[in-house]
Point group: none
Chain length 228, copies 4
DNA sequence: CATGAATGAGGCTTCATTCAT
DNA sequence: TATGAATGAAGCCTCATTCAT
């Protein structure tokens, strides 16, 4: 089941700072705004909140630096906008999970798989979260929009767990939130620390085989834990 | 089983930048070096590699800024020194795990527990890893000392898995490295994103009850997965 | 004898930059121009020529920034327009001085009183003069309209002095211009430096009692000097 | 009685921004600090607080821009330092007034004369006061050192007034503070608005003859007012 | 070993002004 | 007439680092 990247940008970590600015048509506020947001997503995820350069964002977006302030206020506000877009994207993605007609184990496997692949394809989101936690979540705290954004996925897991318990597939009394954090965590660590882990264990964790192995393991762990 | 913090510093995230500089006795190279390293650990973990300020480190350490360069070369070299110290510390900690006389499930539970508590008490290590991965592991790549530092824990897990398979407690064919990454991940995500998760789910994840709940869940997941 | 403020705006120093924009009816050039001029008077007097912000003026006036350029050319030209309006206003006010039927001392007292109150109620004018002198009078130099604007008041003083000399009330050979500068100066300093003087002498110079005392003193000095 | 300019700098208004940087010997903190303060006095008085450029100050002082921040903190703190130095200077000057052996009228004349000449030779002080009042005295308010700096001159005037009343030279019940403000005001306005007044009255108020005439008039007014 | 002054590059932000509609 | 997007220059300030003592 292929999963397209619909994140605000195709940014991924690890690219040096060379850029192909996509000049937006002038006098097209919508496009300009989007270009800035996209460039900012790349820059912030590639270099962190403190490491990101406003000049680089402007250049990447192909707009005048002044526009960043025109549209977003300042660097921190731009970062919040990027975060909100990223959160909105993951919510959208999780909302599309379709478990219609799947058995409880198959449904859980699907959730794990999608989670794994989402992190794989959106490593910039992991980086953004890192910056925001370094900043003690001070941007997100001021945002109403991000709060409880993950509730739907918790609810979905809750339903699958109930169904699985009823069919006898799953153990009982599993907290959906704890489960969600474990599902995420198993995938998250892998991508979050992919560079250091690759060095420390002297393996190329980005290789397709390694990725497939990890994905299979993630499903194994969660289903192994849940089985009655 | 209480676990004391033996990390190079008692640093934890979230502290503002005010500091009580502990002036080392002048003309005491050993102490000066240690003071700088400790201060740097705090500063780097609190503000990230890019966000850390050389001046702040010097002030925190109570030494002249010039000393940082005298002892460590430059900011990046200092960061690497901090990383190496952090890795050395975790290796030391993992080397102390004692599973003598424990059944395989008890041994695994102990590993999970110690891992969870280590991250809990050394959140600065998580922050440092974040910075290093943002930097594409470029410091660690140059370091011989960090490589394969985690091998002992993999070996330990391997032994426990073999024993558990023989006793019939555990499933067979579990890759110790994959297992290690899962054990870590389940705890790691929690502390890595503790600030944003607290906001997004509107819970105080630092509360003792929440921590205890998470720790128990982590053990449940791993043992649940491993059981034959 | 109460004197209403008829200056182009009711601006006075010391107000922070928050504003209630009075949106002029669109398509009403007269009103738009007046709104801009009024807003500019406030902004320039509150923040000085260099400190004034074109954006703030536009916002204050409730018009599009482009209009400032449409109606006035540029910031400097707008400043000159403000200055000219201020000069015109003070000329108008001085032209209204009525000494009909007053004895020479009473007439002089009236001039001093009106001068004092004018400065009191038009402190923005003092501020504008400060900016213009800082700019070495470069705007006013280019303006024909401001030159000799103060001639009428000099002429008036000259007449009173002649009359007073004839009646024996006043000393002879008083230069009306020098007298005018002294009359102005005695009031001017008080308002020009009201903030620093209040701090340096630890008094509230804006208090009604302080103002009344100063006004009486101003009259005393001038009449004391002039008496034969 | 010639009066040398001992102000922190020989700055006077009206000079364009070209500069002869006086490079201080490096590694001479005292000199560096003084050079910055002197350059800042010139720049602030020539262009106002908002119009002054930090770069220009550094260039004028012949030091690296970073030094301004090293020694003074930021632009506002530097401005306060300039103000304090200016106030200290005028206090020093007023403290040197010597009325020993002078009759009360002669003593008052001396005070007026010195005041007039001080303003004449220190027009930068007038400019600085203008900036500070535009800033609502917000710098001076935070300074303990500036408060009541002018008390000595008030005390001096008080003594002369008492003596003059006793000798029958002066009228009674003159408030020394009000008198001081008048003495200052009569000179202050002239220099404060020298550029606009020169234009408005189409005279060269800087000409020696004009200055002498004004000084004589100032003495006349004050003594005329005070005479019994 | 230790200090504090000094540096030049570059950071974020804001300015007055003009363009396209 | 009126609008809001767009611009390039420049403003204040801070950075990691080195020099002179």
């Amino acid at each position: 089941m292929p999963i397209e990247d619909r994140s605000p940008s195709g940014a991924s970590l690890g690219h040096p700072r060379k850029v192909q600015p996509v000049k937006p048509r002038p006098r097209d506020p919508e496009r300009t705004r989007a270009a800035i947001l996209d460039a900012a997503t790349q820059e912030f995820s590639a270099h962190g909140l403190e490491g990101a350069r406003v000049d680089a964002i402007a250049e990447r977006a192909g707009v005048n630096k002044r526009m960043l302030y025109h549209y977003f206020g300042d660097k921190d506000a731009l970062f919040l906008a990027v975060l909100e877009a990223a959160y909105a994207d993951i919510r959208r993605r999780e909302g599309e999970i379709d478990i219609e007609g799947l058995s409880p184990p198959e449904a859980i496997a699907e959730v794990v798989r999608i989670t794994f692949r989402y992190f794989q394809q959106n490593q910039h989101f992991i980086s953004l979260l890192g910056s925001e936690n370094l900043a003690l979540a001070r941007h997100v705290k001021r945002s109403r929009r991000v709060k409880q954004i993950n509730q739907p996925i918790i609810d979905l897991l809750g339903k699958i767990l109930v169904r699985g318990a009823r069919t006898g597939d799953f153990r009982r009394n599993v907290d959906p939130l704890q489960l969600y954090l474990s599902i995420s965590g198993i995938s998250y660590l892998y991508f979050c620390n992919i560079h250091t882990l690759s060095v420390v264990f002297d393996r190329n964790l980005k290789a397709p085989a390694a990725l497939a192995e990890r994905e299979a393991h993630a499903i194994d762990v969660i289903l192994g834990y849940l089985r009655a």
